[in-house]
């Protein structure tokens, strides 16, 4: 039996298992609101991975803490209301000693790609550190699960990393780069300045959200978002869940949620049956391993309706989600449910590559066969260089690991396999491209920017993203446009705006050591 700890939530004692996140504990009450939006709407966690800032609460008197990124600990005091406080003591500000670190190779991101680079480069004798915003190694696909050990393959990689000489820096957010080869990060113990001869970016991807009426209700999650929250300890057993959106992730999420006792009612896939059939045919020809994976899903998901050509048109409920209305293009119907897990594909986390000046093409970092970006000594791997899943991420991670260690011969052997993995990237993008119908989902009052509550109506007459930002405040909140930016790109065709440090909200004291 897990050890249980006691914390205070809105003045009430709550017991929770150890190693859960605060968000997961709060979500033990279904449909709970973690904050009130700027126009007074209740909001709950959406992305589950520290990106959307909807799960902000006050912890021990400090407002605006992302509850999905913070583990519970005995005696902490959490408040979901009046999210505006700050430590009020008047101590003279004491300059925190900045910690200086230096490595041959710094890997940003601890998913499969980052782990593969770190292991490969460390084995070749490089001084390596791997850093992540997350408290645990694994990224999204190998995310730490509080209730279940990692699968054998993932655990092997994790163990190789822990046996290697690579240093692991947890819960560190890189927010600035004062000069080439130098990064500043905020960590729980203070600011850190890291110098590295070579930087490998493995920042991964986040989910794309398409706004529709009711998508801001507590109980509406990202697909990967709900999975991440359940892995962090959110109870889901017995809950009625609809999984919607697009891409292979929907199947993985439904499979996982069912394994944790969720009552998955429907998987709604927006792409057409014809596109899916062509995709499956391609797998048969080229990727027998992926066919086996798909067959496994099909077996475990039997009994759950899978509907292609189907997407949500609205989410409804009083203060929290109670039902979802869906369509197949001709007919509409309403399904009662407790949670909606919806993701409309993945968007690469290009903020740090942009800050470093890396060229971006069609939303991804441009890389050559060695995974080099346009900036000297900066590499990009995994989803940053094209959404392609685990095999491609590991390959690219290993290639970059060999290249940074000067072992081009070993890299060359892997580059042919990478070419095949890239073919899968294009087929994925084509199969799961978003249908135009989804652009018609928002009504005038649908909120597009959840931080600042900017509506579709306010945005549709704006000429460009910069004007929209200045005149409506879209993207000006703490998520810095990470959620609304990709939505606005889909709805209005706007480019992402400019990127400036800090690329993540940081305590002002972290800016004090910026040279």
């Amino acid at each position: 039996m897990d050890k249980r700890i006691a914390l205070t939530v809105n003045d009430e004692q709550v017991n929770a298992p150890e190693h859960c996140t605060v968000a997961a504990v709060l979500l033990a009450s279904p449909g709970v609101a973690t904050r009130v939006s700027v126009t007074g709407e209740p909001r709950g966690p959406l992305c589950g991975m520290g990106v959307c800032f909807e799960c902000r609460v006050t912890i021990d008197g400090e407002a605006h803490q992302r509850s999905c990124q913070i583990s519970t600990s005995d005696g902490i005091v959490v408040a979901t209301r009046g999210n505006d406080s700050y430590p009020r003591e008047h101590e003279q500000y004491l300059s925190e000693e900045i910690v200086n670190k230096a490595y041959d190779v710094l890997v940003i991101g601890a998913g499969p790609a980052g782990i593969a680079t770190a292991v490969t480069a460390a084995q070749a004798g490089q001084r390596v550190a791997v850093l992540s915003d997350d408290p645990h190694i694994g990224g999204q696909i190998w995310r730490h699960d509080h209730a279940k050990p990692l699968g054998r393959f993932a655990a092997d990689w994790r163990d190789r990393l822990s046996r290697s000489s690579a240093e692991w820096i947890a819960s560190a957010s890189v927010f600035a780069s004062p000069k080439p080869g130098v990064l500043l990060a905020e960590t729980p113990t203070g600011p850190m300045r890291i110098r590295a001869d070579q930087i490998v970016l493995a920042c991964g991807a986040r989910e794309r959200f398409v706004p529709f009426p009711g998508w801001t209700l507590p109980g509406v999650f990202g697909a990967g978002g709900l999975q991440a929250l359940v892995k962090a300890g959110m109870p889901i057993a017995g809950q009625r869940v609809i999984v919607a959106g697009t891409g292979p992730l929907l199947l993985a999420v439904a499979d996982y949620l069912r394994s944790r006792g969720a009552n998955v009612r429907l998987i709604a896939e927006q792409t057409s049956r014809g596109k899916l059939a062509r995709f499956a045919g391609g797998l048969l020809l080229r990727e027998p391993a992926k066919i086996a994976e798909a067959a496994g899903f099909a077996w475990r998901l039997r009994g759950i309706p899978f509907r292609p050509n189907c997407w949500p048109t609205s989410a409804d409920g009083e203060g929290h989600l109670q039902s979802v209305t869906l369509t197949d293009g001709s007919r509409r119907w309403t399904e009662p449910c407790d949670a909606l897990a919806c993701g409309f594909g993945l968007v690469a986390n290009t903020e740090l590559p942009c800050l470093l000046g890396c060229a971006i093409e069609h939303g991804f970092v441009r890389v050559d066969a060695d995974q080099r970006t346009s900036v000297p000594n900066v590499f990009a791997i995994g989803e940053l260089a094209g959404i392609g899943g685990l095999d491609k991420a590991l390959l690219e991670g290993e290639i970059a690991g060999h290249v940074v260690a000067g072992r081009h011969d070993l890299a060359a052997a892997l580059q042919r396999r990478r070419a095949k993995a890239r073919g899968f990237v294009d087929r994925l993008a084509d199969t799961f491209a978003l249908r135009d119908d989804l652009r018609q989902l928002p009504d005038a009052k649908t909120i597009v920017c959840r931080c600042e509550d900017v509506t579709f109506e306010q945005l549709r007459t704006q000429p460009d993203i910069r004007t929209a930002k200045l005149h409506t405040r879209i993207g000006m909140g703490p998520c810095q446009g990470r959620i609304c930016g990709s939505a606005a790109e889909f709805l209005f065709g706007w480019d992402a705006g400019s990127v400036r440090s800090p690329i993540f909200p940081v305590a002002m004291k972290s800016l004090a050591g910026g040279e």
Binding site: V38, E62, A63, H64, D84, S85, Y86, P87, R88, E89, H90, E91, Q92, Y93, S95, A176, P178, L184, D464, R466, T467, L470, H471, M476, G477, P478, Q480, R500, S501, P502, P505, V506, A507, M508, K509, S510, L511, A512, G513, G514, E515
Partner: protein, 374 residues
């Protein structure tokens, strides 16, 4: 080539151009506004939006005071998006020398009818409990306010458009007397032309004595009530008007949203608008000397902007020698948000011959020899 005609063309829809366009349209003139990019998207978007009276010179006082009166008169009409809020200004003195400066400011303001109040150390701590203990005191000017500049500029432009002004999404390429050739291939024939393009005015009129002076700002997430006044260190005056190549001063603004907006920095001879980490560091360190509790607040954005600075800290408003029919309204440095409305009143007077309560001669570009004889 197609050519539209108007009584006055206003080049630039920053806050100054927007205010001029509105005032000219309200005076009954047919106005054409020429702006290629976002309305209020240049120096206006980078500014703090503090509507403040300043007293470096009698001319500066007159212009800022008149402008503030105009803003306060407009306040009831301003839409929510302009985020007008009367915060008052609190000038902070750290020692006796600065307290003496505060007293001088108090005497200057009160003798000219401005409500102000001297505060001792306890008084300052009472109204702004997040300031560190042990400050010498301060001067509170309660009638001052804060606005969100880009939406203020947008509202002013919309007011002009409601009075039949036209908006031309282009920039001026060439002038033939008062005919303007625009970047979209069209032309405008204007009775008069107002150059309200900030630093950009020097492109056509290189003799104008304006230099870009970059500033940095930092904004936090929402912490309603953390500070109530715009809080400015009295050392700001040294920073703003010293000749130092680089300077910082503590200047904190509580926005209507509950966000805290922190300034300020000043540097000459920087042409790249990239945020400079060493300046942010200096600014933030300066702020912690006054308000250590700021250290824990979450910062969500930093940015820079270029002020159009003149050698005597006064704007350039009036006819341009050698350019018949052309007027300039530029060089507002860090006070353009405040002084836009007074500038507009002066421009209307110059263009139409209407009377103004302000002295038309005090801000003429011809006060500088290089302009007068250029």
């Amino acid at each position: 080539m197609s050519a539209a005609t108007c009584d006055v063309a206003v080049l630039g829809a920053g806050i100054v151009g927007a205010a001029c366009a509105r005032a000219l349209a309200m005076a009954g003139l047919r106005v054409a506004i020429v702006e290629r990019a976002t309305i209020g998207g240049g120096a206006t978007a980078a500014g703090m939006g503090h509507v403040v009276v300043m007293d470096d010179s009698d001319a500066q006082f007159a212009l800022t005071r008149r402008s503030q009166q105009l803003w306060n008169e407009l306040a009831p009409q301003l839409p929510d998006a302009v985020e007008y809020v009367q915060t008052g200004t609190l000038w902070i003195a750290v020692d006796d020398e600065e307290l003496t400066a505060a007293r001088a400011k108090y005497a200057y303001y009160t003798s000219r009818g401005i409500v102000a109040e001297m505060l001792d150390a306890d008084g300052v701590a009472r109204i702004e409990p997040n300031l560190r203990p042990g400050l010498a005191g301060g001067l509170r000017v309660p009638g001052e306010s804060v606005i969100y500049p880009p939406c203020a500029a947008l509202w002013l432009v919309n007011q002009a458009l409601e009075r039949n002004a036209t908006l031309h999404r282009a920039e001026a390429k060439r002038f033939d007397r008062t005919t303007i050739e625009l970047s979209d291939g069209s032309a405008l024939i204007a009775g008069a032309i107002v150059h309200a393009t900030g630093i950009g005015a020097t492109r056509f009129m290189p003799s104008l004595p304006i230099r870009p002076r970059i500033g940095h700002l930092v904004i936090t997430d929402r912490y309603p009530g953390f500070a109530r006044h715009q809080i400015v260190e009295l050392g700001y005056i040294k920073s703003a008007h010293g000749a130092d190549k680089e300077s910082v001063a503590f200047n904190l603004q509580p926005r209507k949203t509950g966000q805290m907006l922190l300034g300020s920095s000043r540097q000459y001879d920087v042409t790249d608008g990239t945020v400079q980490p060493h300046m942010v560091t200096r600014m933030v360190a300066r702020a912690f000397e006054y308000m250590p509790a700021l250290a824990a607040l979450s910062v969500i954005r930093t940015w820079t902007g270029f002020r159009a600075a003149t050698p005597d800290s006064l704007p350039l408003i009036g006819p341009m020698p050698g350019w018949p029919g052309h007027f300039v309204a530029t060089g507002h440095e860090g006070l353009g948000i405040t002084t836009s409305l007074g500038t507009a009143e002066l421009i209307v007077a110059h263009v139409t011959g209407q009377r103004s309560s302000l002295d038309l001669n005090a801000y003429l570009p011809t006060r500088f020899a290089e302009v007068a004889h250029g």
